[in-house]
Every structure is written in C-alpha cells, then in structure tokens.
Symmetry: C2
Subunit: 329 residues, 2 copies
C-alpha cells in the first residue's frame, strides 16, 4: 500500500466535448497524471481508489438540455474504496484510478461486504436504486397488478421485471430483438415480452399483451411507446418516467397525443432520477438484500479490466451489448 | 306539501344526441311527465325535489371518448331536497323537478344550513371540490410557492386562485379577454394575469409572469398551454389536470413535446376528477367553511329560474358568460 503523501500514477478517461448521437471511442481520450495520496489540509475531502467503475447508458449525457454539464461529468457512478481508513464506500466518482471527492455526501459506506463488491456499481447502485425507486416507491405496486417495462432488457428494466415478479405482479417487457425477447421470457422471468421493432402498431401489441390494461408502466423510452401505453392504462394507473431514450437524439421531441387519458383514467405520471432517491437506500437494502441472500436475485456482470477499456465498453452498450445482466433462478 | 303517493308534474330537460362543439338550445328539449311522490316498494331509492340545479361547462360531455354516456347523463349535479324526512341533501341528480335517486351513495346530507343553499351547487360542490382536491390534495401547496391556473376565470379557476392566495402563494391566471384579466387582478386577488389570446408566445408570457418558474400548475386546458408550462416548471413541480378543454373538440389532440421536463425537473402530473374525491369532502369543509364564515370567500351566483331556462343558461356559458363567480373581499 502506498504511503501517505506519495505521488502515484492516475489514469483518467476524459470527454472531448458534448456528443451527438451514440458515443464513439474517439469522443474520449486518456490522460495520465499523478495524484498525491494525501487529502489537502484543511479540507473535508476524501481520497478514494476506484476498484470498480460503472458503465451505463446515461453516461452519454444529453447535450442540448443540460448545457452546463460536460459528458465527462456524466461518466462517474461507481463503487469506490475509501483510502486511509480502509472503509469500502460507493458513490459518485470519476473514470480514473484515484479520485479526490469533494461532495462527500455522495459517498456511502458499504455496510454489507457479504455481497460481491461489483454489485455496488449495478444492482445496489444506480440501476438497482432506479428500479426500486421508480417501481416500488413511486408506483406502489400491489400483488396481481399488470406491469409493463420498456426497455426491459437493460440493467434497470430487468430489475423492475424481477421486483415485479417477486411482488406477485404480471409483467411484460419490450426489447429490440428476438434474442432479447426470448431471454426476457426464458431466463428473466417475464410473463410475456415483444420486439417493438417488429410491431406494426404498438397499441395493438399492448392490447394483445394486456387485454385487461396496464396498472404500472416503468418508462425509460418515452415517445411513441408512451403514447401507446397511455391508451392502455387502467384507472388510477401509475407511470414512473426514469428517462426517454427515444427522444434524446431528436432535434424536436415527438408529440404525445394521448394525455387526455390522464383525466379519463385518473393517471399519475412522475419523472424521477435516482439522485433524488438515495435517502431511500436503507429501505432498498431491506427489500433487496434478503432476495440476494436467498438467491432470488442474481446479478451477472461483464467486467472490463482497466480504465483504458472503459470507452470501448461504453460504445458497446450503444451497439446493443449489455455489460450487466441479472438472471432468474 | 304533496301527499304520499300523489302524482305531480315533472318537467325535464333531455339531450337529443351527442353534440359536437358548443351546445345549442336546439340540442336539448323538454319533456313534461308525472311522477308518483312515493318511493317504489322494496327499493332503497330516494325521491328528491330539486331546489337548485347546477349549470357547468363539463355538462356538454365529450362525444368520442365516452360513447356509453349521453349528454343528458352529464347534466346533473345539483343540490337537492330530500323528500319525506325533510333533510336537505346535495349530490348527483338530473335536470328535472323531481328525481328518483338509485345511486344514493352520491347523495350527501347537508349538515351546514348556515351557508346559502345554492352554494351546494358550486362553491361546496363540483367546482369547489375540484379546486380543493386538485390544488390542495394533489399538489400539496406550500406558502410562497408559485402557482399558475388556466383557465383562471371559470368557477374552478377562481377558487384555485382564492385558495392559493389564502395559502400564501403567488398566483397567476390565464383568461381569454382583457376584461377577465382585469377582473382577475382587481377583484379576484390574482397577483398577475394575462390574456392568452393576445400572447404571441405562451412560453414568453409564462417567463414574464414567473421569472423563478412555476411550482404548481392547475390545468384545465391542456394542449399548447400545458406544453409551454412544462418548459417553465421548477424542480419537483406538480401539475394537477382537471380537464383539457382545448382538446375536446379536436379530431386529433395536439402533440405535447416537452414531457422530457418530467425527468429533468422531477415533475409529477396527475389527472383527477372530482368523483374520485368526495371522500375528502369533510376535509374540504373543514378548510373552507371558516373562510366562508369569516367572509374571506364569497360566492356570487347567477341563478336562472325554472328548469325550462336551463338550456339557455348552459349555452350562455359557452359564449363566455359565467353563471357563478366568487369575489374577493
């Protein structure tokens, strides 16, 4: 272990600029600097060594809407190691080997080291908390309710499906290939699934999968899918909007025409981000840790070694490759 | 008082058919039948004599979306007199002199007869409960928050504005004429108001009235106004949708393009109708009765005499005439 105050190498991944569309490896570059293994005197900063860094679609960032944030600032969300005292922590960091954390309120001490540490970059971090907060806290699911998830194959969607099944709900997912649809049904425990790219009419697809209508929609896609879902919601339905990935690359967002359903069906739509929900983290652990211990939730991760492989891994996500997935038992 | 079992005249107003656009007097016709002043044996029905009948915009109904309801069925919402025992009741009835009520769960005994009885067709009935449920229960207003109401001049909008001021909020309304805008500001206590028909760009108008953004939007109009409001909401803003009157007469609803704000700003939109909220009636009375007794809420009503004058009164509403209005003190 390096001594206090020693200078060590710190490889970093930086973004060149805002990006349009899907990220390319050339949108990022490496920088190797050095960092002193000492927290600046008189500050309350924390120095962490990054053991695992997450790699998620949201890292691309959204160019026109949040102009004060660079792509780079979206990258970090990771499990990290508290240096010095030897605590394991997780929270918001950067794609680099060591990070000096100023916003220490976004660091969380890892209490349960009896689950694999990488889980804290996925199942027990952003994707897991997003699934939990949106589905469980915002939508208050009840046993027997009809749940739709889109997209369902991503890290968040899979976990929503898993939580829905564990709650006793009927859950259907949408994905972008036959292979993914098959895996949703055969491995991830979805009651049904469809390939939205092969559906001529999303309204018809939803009516086929939900003849009784939809109680809860976990939306990460927006656009035409949201519009079709609005036609199929049941009375007092709830829609949690975690994102609208179908809209980010459009110059002008698509128009949603079926909002009248909000009144007719007394529907609630609520947007949220996981950053507002970390106060719910203890509740989340109470729900999900027993499932992990009992083997009811297993999280399979694809780990790229070294920050220098981060850009390629991020690009692969946008070409349809998933780095993380949970499998049903 | 007529004796038990006696047959009496019962004038009724009926709708000819579904209607397109605004109602005309010729869309309605009269029928004079007779009714026995006796509740059919073996039923739990209640016979009421209608003292006051309400006259509201929603009565027009909405043709294509609720095909199983005739216009006629939208008409009734009224204060009514319980026959026999002499109780005063209010609830859902029909435009006729006497009504035999089957759905007695929609009848409410009037406990407070120290407020004018016609208040139970307006301030203390649908418009008042709509304003209360949407603004107070769904949006959880806090002192100092920025509130927008559109349309503001109707019976519901005025009451939302009044409740917002009594809560210590800053409230701005939109209306369709200079005269209405002036009255909103000079008589109804709105902090600001604008004529949406004279605004070239609703986004600009809202930014002028709300440089800090909007916390709560009470929406009864939908369409372009909702789209512009979405651009001006503050973080964790709340939108209660009571209706979308700009959309009912369109063959295809307008597309709403700014729903991405839901995620960026963590906004909640919730549709509701007053029919789901009558369990909150005691809470509503607890809030509003003291204001009435203290003279902080005064409700001025325009009363047409006799059911035969109902159709003309309903038509007048859609030509911009208001039958009911509340004035500030």
């Amino acid at each position: 272990m390096a001594g206090d105050g020693e200078e060590v190498r710190n490889k970093q991944v930086l973004a060149r600029d805002y990006i349009d569309g899907n990220p390319k490896e050339t949108d990022m570059y490496f920088n190797t600097s050095s960092i002193s293994l000492k927290v600046p005197e008189g500050t309350k900063e924390v120095l962490v060594k990054n053991l695992y860094l997450s790699c998620d679609p949201y890292m691309r960032g959204i160019k026109p809407k949040i102009p004060d944030r660079l792509f780079y600032s979206f990258a970090p969300h990771s499990p990290i190691v508290g240096y010095g005292k030897g605590d394991f922590v997780w929270g918001v960091t950067k794609w680099e080997e060591y990070s000096l954390i100023t916003m220490t309120e976004s660091l969380f001490k890892i209490q349960h080291t009896d689950v694999p540490l990488p889980y804290y970059t996925g199942l027990l971090d952003m994707p897991g908390m997003t699934a939990y907060a949106g589905f469980y806290e915002l939508c208050s699911p009840k046993k027997g309710e009809y749940v739709f998830v889109s997209p369902a194959f991503g890290a968040v969607g899979q976990l929503v499906g898993k939580l829905a099944k564990l709650m006793g709900c009927y859950v259907v997912g949408s994905a972008g290939s036959k292979e993914k649809v098959d895996i949703l049904k055969s491995k991830f425990g979805f009651d049904d699934a469809f390939n939205y790219k092969e559906e001529h009419d999303l309204d018809v697809a939803l009516k086929r999968c939900f003849p009784e209508g939809i109680d809860i929609y976990f939306d990460n896609v927006g656009g035409k899918m949201l519009d079709a879902v609005l036609l199929n919601m049941r009375f007092h339905g709830r829609i949690a909007v975690a994102g609208m990935i179908s809209q980010y690359n459009l110059d002008q967002p698509e128009g949603i025409r079926n909002l009248l359903s909000l009144v007719y069906k007394r529907i609630r739509i609520e947007g949220f981000t996981v950053y507002d929900c970390y106060h719910l983290f203890p509740n989340f652990l109470d729900l999900v840790l027993p499932y992990i211990w009992e083997g009811k939730i297993v999280y399979v991760e694809d780990i790229a070694e070294g920050v220098e492989n981060g850009p390629a891994a991020l690009v692969r996500i946008f070409s349809g490759h998933r780095l993380t997935m949970s499998e049903s038992k």
